[in-house]
Amino acid sequence: MNELHTLHILNKTPDHPRFGECLGMLGPDDAIVLIENGVLGLAAAEGFHSARVYALRDDVAARGLSGSTQATSLVDYSEWVGLTLQAERVISW
């Protein structure tokens, strides 16, 4: 399993300033979990660079985005908790 330095939990829409701030701080060993309105980033063609991108399955389905999740791993709540335990540190945006 790859080392996971920082897990970024992002629940803001791409129009929120914190969305861009989060992307600007992504390191090479970081991963990002999109939850709530953060999953809209999947539709807005935002550049996540090389970071691993996860998205909460229920939030993706609620917004009708199940079809646009190419390079994204969909996770459920327990897998999300697993990621937070695996990460050295967590930032909630």
Binding site: N11, T13, P14, A43, A44, A62, R63, S66, S68
Partner: protein, 116 residues
Amino acid sequence: MAMLIIIDQPPYGGWTGREALDMAFSLAAFDQPVSLLFIGAGVNWLRTGQNTSGIEQKSVEKNLAAAPVFGIEDILADRISCERYGIAPPELADSVVLTDANAELLAQYSQAAFAG
């Protein structure tokens, strides 16, 4: 006197959009001409295929489909915002009209108000 209610907040994250929809329905109940405009992240209200069973909220897609029944005049979506959020016309509900949200559009209404 026509009113335009503008929703620029995404669905499900908060209550402002639902309150705006409620207000639009109330105006329509008294036969006041009212239309809805979705811009920015608000266009995500209009994407088809929303399945909210996992988040225990009512589907705004289904709620919004009642708008024509209640007498809401137009449901407008800003073209550029739709492009930004990757919503192509086939993914929009049938009753939605693509438009350009600009001063010219707003000038057609005697009142315009942003939700929230």
